[in-house]
Symmetry: C2
Subunit: 410 residues, 2 copies
Amino acid sequence: MGTELLLGEVLNTNAQFLSRFCAHHGLDVYHHVTVGDNWERLSDALVRARRRADLVLISGGLGPTPDDITREVVADVWGCPLRADAKEMRVIEGFFRRRGVPMTENNRRQALLPQGAVSLPNPNGTAPGFYLEHDDAHVAALPGPPRELEPMVTASLGPLLKASDRLPASRLYSRDLLLAGIGESQVAERIADLLRDQDDPSIATYAGGGRIRIRLATRAKDEAEALASFRPVLDVLKSRLGAFIYGYDDETLPGAVGRLLKARGLTLGVAESCTGGGLAHWMTEIPGASDYFSGGLVTYSNASKIALLEVAPSTIERYGAVSIPVAKAMALGAAKRLNAEVSAAITGVAGPSGGTPEKPVGLVCFAFYGPWGLTSEDVQFNGSRALIRERSIIHTLMRLRQHLGEEQAG
Amino acid sequence: MGTELLLGEVLNTNAQFLSRFCAHHGLDVYHHVTVGDNWERLSDALVRARRRADLVLISGGLGPTPDDITREVVADVWGCPLRADAKEMRVIEGFFRRRGVPMTENNRRQALLPQGAVSLPNPNGTAPGFYLEHDDAHVAALPGPPRELEPMVTASLGPLLKASDRLPASRLYSRDLLLAGIGESQVAERIADLLRDQDDPSIATYAGGGRIRIRLATRAKDEAEALASFRPVLDVLKSRLGAFIYGYDDETLPGAVGRLLKARGLTLGVAESCTGGGLAHWMTEIPGASDYFSGGLVTYSNASKIALLEVAPSTIERYGAVSIPVAKAMALGAAKRLNAEVSAAITGVAGPSGGTPEKPVGLVCFAFYGPWGLTSEDVQFNGSRALIRERSIIHTLMRLRQHLGEEQAG
């Protein structure tokens, strides 16, 4: 794995996963180090890690090929010679017997563990991990593939660490506030004082995919203590940014809109031009969306706007396909054709070409129909084609959330 | 930046970007190291990096806050005291003058560079980077945010390195073969001999998002030499995996399907149930898709299948919404309603609930209509709701590609 990381072939998602795991358990992380499948460099990295850390987490190099040397180097650095683990040997032998494939010496090597180590079962691969408690530094060796490493950490390493003496009494708790429809720099301006002075809980913002995450984090002995620490800061954030907040922690924008539709017993139909089905795709990410999502019409051409949504040809001719009148006609057509009480329509210039001085790339027209009536607006977005499409979807969902949550049936 | 990485808040995309940059320029990367905003740990890491490397690349810690210490630590470790850079000072002063914001001492610090260093302009932020040629190890300091670092590396650092004496005469070239519709383990079985024995060009597989990338890489003095080295291996790969290959390098599956439609002068319309508009969204990722994509119907409910696609209620009643007869009716309805020569329809059980013993989660029915007639099939996929939806889209695109590329109008 190390070699692929050093070539830039793959992203080091294991470093992030293991860091979050440590933060969650109250362990401070001071170093990430990546080296290739090279005895000297790996040994050198582990000698230093053992010296400076209480716990060393290693991923990769447990496979069956001669390149995979983690097991041997750990045994050498920690001074605990390799021994065959009878249980793991049976697991590996069983695996090959069931497949009717001959087992090689290299496969046998996977059942070797440093003396005193306990094996970490790997239900998603052949290489078990191991965990070794040692006076100066505990060490865990984990497989490189994330789909093997992540379940092993959650199911086996976590409980072992909890049972050891290496976890602090307090750990890090966090609470995320999720925002959309506002830029990161605007958020930073509105809470500049907090970003500068707020110390515990700490506060940080992360932006990506048109959404912003404000994370509060604090070290506490239990959740109640953490929540008490978050509450006053959350109140300030809500008073300054309320209109842009769509949820907390793992909530999603389509999930929030779906809950509002369901609570009010309404169904949604959508008509999309430049977003090409993306809004419908997002809405149907949520299992059970059929309770409130009646369908979508992707009318990428003028002909399909006319045939499917009953937009009048004269409206398109007079105002152009990207216009408020066409967006309104699309929203009304979608509600009618999809037999929905609520509808949203998007038509815009996603680019990179097709813009004019009057209707530049990034101009997107929206219309929303529902108990509140028929509303519309146009927005000028910036960025690539993909970003303009994504921001148009987010804008639609934020507006639907407002209409559904704040305004009452008229 | 380092601190956020160590907490697992953000993924280290800079490590990947810089590694690819190095590989592309023939530079071997032996270590990635991440430390927080801490003088001792950063200094220690840089002392060791300077000793073992010809070139040290640093990202982060160039901002205006007291935490940002990269500039000072580099000056200290390389023994080159900081000096104000007149040009960068003017740039920063101009930035604050234009905004009418008072400039602080910390902002001024951003124009300090180690003696002998050249500044790397930052058009996307206030902190310039710098590059210092030094006998034992050249060093470049780059900003942490990827949207500042990436353009700086491409526009400034690359040309400076090319002009220096640090780049080898040969560099790494690669060629990616893109596959879909086959699992990674099946690929590994079909080319087990190559994966084991093939040395130069090297061969590696990467899987993700239902697609597989087989990468050939070799060190060569120019592209012609690299291509000559790839050709015999590519021929073997094509002979063993031809049916699953949809493109090379940066090609995309919707792009490949779009090219075939355009070349044959055909338009595509789609009808989607479980994928909820995702197929339409993928097809319209490509600028200019309106030349061949006529539209899509997201018929998530039975009512919309009947109203929009003219699926007979008796067909749904008799066979169920997830069935070959319904998929066929959807494809024919989409072609008719969207006035398209080619159509594809998807209806399936995306889960996580809604499965039955007869129609389990992951069962997806497809139909394809076009000059080849009307074809259909069902496939049992595994995985999460998101994965089942993604694999259904990929399956549809692969099948369209086959129909459009291999079969002639009947």
